[in-house]
């Protein structure tokens, strides 16, 4: 499965949660598949989906799911120790690990070679790290939500992108409706 197929499958689960979605094609895919006010789309700032999600989870009680990518986590590796040492029970970091920089033309990342993100997350102090194959994502995500323990999920899947339109919504509109959904 590629990322967009996973997002289609887990859309009914994501719909009821606060979601911080990674820059580029992941946000475009989620926006096209199931736009919700509970989705915060990143239009820039590669690497910070996990940090924004962690800050949001620490600030309020609702469950927060950060959808991240292997390339984006590699660009902000300092996030893993911060998460490992401050993990709240309402935060799920879901790293879609397709071994490539999807938004820029599927150039390979190091996770497709020797680098093991799950091992890095564990070494950084993350206690609950789950590795799943693409087809099992929905089940694992629902389990993580139900368990109410902070979880880092590494979802292994194929490289590739669906062709989706660019998000044209104004960033302040995205942010404002998201904050209203957080408060609701």
């Amino acid at each position: 499965m590629i990322r967009s197929e996973i997002l289609k499958e887990i859309a009914p689960i994501l719909r009821d949660q606060l979601v911080v979605c990674n820059i580029g094609i992941p946000s475009q895919e989620l926006h096209a598949i199931d736009d919700q006010p509970t989705n915060f789309y990143m239009l820039g700032t590669m690497g910070l989906s996990s940090s924004i999600g962690l800050g949001l989870a620490l600030a309020q009680p609702k469950t927060v799911i950060s959808i991240d990518g292997d390339g984006s986590v590699l660009t902000n590796l300092g996030t893993l120790p911060t998460i490992g040492n401050n993990m709240p029970s309402n935060f799920i970091l879901m790293i879609v690990d397709n071994g490539s920089y999807g938004s820029t033309g599927d150039q390979p990342t190091y996770t497709g070679r020797k680098t093991d993100l799950a091992g890095m997350a564990r070494a950084a102090g993350c206690d609950n790290v789950v590795e799943v194959q693409d087809v099992d994502t929905g089940k694992a995500l629902q389990e993580a939500i139900d368990a109410q323990v902070g979880t880092v999920m590494i979802v292994k899947c194929d490289s590739g992108n669906a062709k989706m339109p660019v998000i044209t919504m104004d960033p302040v509109v995205i942010r404002d409706r998201f904050m209203k959904a957080v408060e609701a």
């Binding site: 915060f40 940090s51 962690l54 800050g55 949001l56 600030a59 996030t79 911060t82 960033p171 998201f178």
Partner: protein, 168 residues
């Protein structure tokens, strides 16, 4: 009252309850003070752009954030300031140790100091420079201004403000 306590009191009085820090020797006292205050959740970050992501999330979750960092971080965070904090119009007080100014003993710090105000000006970031200890009296107003206009705002605090660096 110590300068560290005065700064922390102003943060608390302005309902700032989520603070991330990347340390600098000049900021050690205020970081220690923040760490001890029950009203503030202190989360150290490993890099300043990561810290700004944490602050963005905390603000969307209903907490008023602040970041404490060194001016070298302006070089690290230009993209995050432009595409996250400014683009989504978020408030972010940045208490910045202004290294490389008068009374600086480390020559390399001057290399970023000479760019600091120019970069902040280029980014249209409101910037205040604390040089004398009495300048801290403006902090309360600056914090109110930041959350009024939903912008990142820089408060540069130099070695003279902190009572010297290396010669204190």
């Amino acid at each position: 009252m110590s300068i560290d306590k005065k700064i922390t009191d102003d943060l608390v009085a302005n309902d700032i309850s989520f603070v991330t820090t990347v340390p600098c020797k000049q900021l050690a006292g205020v970081i220690e003070e923040i760490d001890q205050r029950e009203e503030i959740f202190h989360i150290p970050s490993n890099k300043e752009d990561e810290g700004m992501g944490l602050c963005a999330g905390a603000w969307m979750g209903g907490k008023r954030p602040a970041i404490i960092m060194q001016n070298t971080a302006i070089g690290v965070t230009i993209n995050t300031l432009a595409t996250l904090i400014q683009y989504y119009r978020m408030p972010l007080p940045m208490l910045i140790s202004y290294r490389g100014e008068l009374r600086e003993p480390v020559a390399c710090q001057v290399e970023m100091a000479v760019h600091t105000k120019a970069l902040l000006a280029q980014m249209n970031i409101p910037t205040y420079h604390f040089h004398n200890q009495s300048d801290v009296e403006e902090l309360d107003m600056i914090l109110k201004y930041t959350f009024m206009c939903n912008k990142p705002v820089a408060i540069l605090t130099d070695a003279n403000f902190w009572g010297g660096y290396g010669d204190q």
